[in-house]
């Protein structure tokens, strides 16, 4: 067991983690909004999800009742679902590639007015 050190001495405050999560989220968002390739958009989405997970863990750690494990459980499920979603998303990209011979996102624009 890792010895529990005094939190005042050791831990960065909550905002740091939150800021980190925010920054990570923004980077992921930027990638989603800016990159041309669909797979990279997916990577961006994964980053955003991870930022959210970090948020959960941070709040679990700094919040009341950490013994309930709520944040960890949540993150667990989030990871699982994110994995499933990544799999499905990539399958979609492969199907897209098969039809349009491209993985450029701006080529998939048939749903328009």
């Amino acid at each position: 067991m890792t010895p529990a050190l005094s939190p005042q001495l050791t831990m960065p405050p909550l905002q740091c983690y939150l800021l980190l999560a925010a920054f990570l989220f923004s980077i992921g968002l930027a990638g989603v909004l800016v990159r041309r390739n669909a797979i990279l958009v997916l990577i961006g989405v994964e980053l955003m999800l991870n930022a959210a997970n970090l948020n959960f863990i941070a709040f679990w750690r700094f919040g009341p009742h950490p013994e309930a494990m709520t944040g960890v459980l949540f993150v667990l499920f989030a990871i699982a679902v994110a994995a499933a979603e990544a799999a499905v998303g990539l399958a979609l990209i492969i199907a897209l590639h098969r039809h349009y011979q491209t993985v450029r996102l701006d080529r998939a624009d048939t749903l328009r007015g």
């Binding site: 890792t2 980190l20 923004s26 993150v75 994110a82 990539l90 492969i94």
Partner: protein
């Protein structure tokens, strides 16, 4: 500058650097690998936050499965677009602006919140046994449902990616 803070900063650099690299590199494989690095860093952050199980799960699933699947997908869809294409999509400043705006708002919200100066409380270590107990006790339903989701996603992905039968 205490040690944990330094560790935190390092890990931050790792995470953010990996993320930036993933988003800005031209080569897709490089992006995927950068993503993996970022995710690893994030797992380390979880560990520092005493969420051991979450960290390991992160490594196992995200780095070990998701990143690899992404690499597979990259490899499978390689060569379709001609090289030399611009990296960023049309109208990318708008996207960047949007991201900056979002970050700004979030940061502002974080920095102005009253949580600012709370003492970090004594935490609990999230070992596998503890997590397992809670999973089986309170969260058994989400557990099962998640299993179902995974099954469905597996089947769905397989169906979507299946090559259609060619009429012979």
């Amino acid at each position: 500058m205490t040690l944990p803070f330094l560790i935190f900063l390092t890990l931050t650099a790792l995470v953010l650097g990996g993320a930036l690299a993933a988003m800005m590199l031209r080569d897709l494989i490089h992006s995927a690998l950068a993503l993996a690095v970022s995710l690893l860093g994030l797992a380390a952050v979880y560990l520092t936050l005493q969420a051991q199980f979450a960290g390991f799960a992160q490594v196992l699933v995200y780095v070990g499965a998701v990143a690899i699947v992404i690499v597979f997908a990259i490899l499978l869809t390689r060569g379709s677009d001609p090289a030399g294409q611009p990296v960023f999509a049309r109208g990318w400043p708008w996207g960047a602006a949007a991201a900056v705006a979002v970050f700004g708002v979030l940061a502002a919200g974080i920095l102005r919140s009253p949580l600012a100066g709370t003492e970090p409380p004594a935490g609990v270590e999230a070992h596998a046994a503890e997590v397992g107990k809670h999973l089986m006790a309170e969260a058994v339903l989400p557990l099962e449902v998640t299993g179902l989701i995974l099954t469905v996603a597996l089947i769905g992905a397989a169906v979507i990616a299946l090559r259609e039968k060619v009429e012979s």
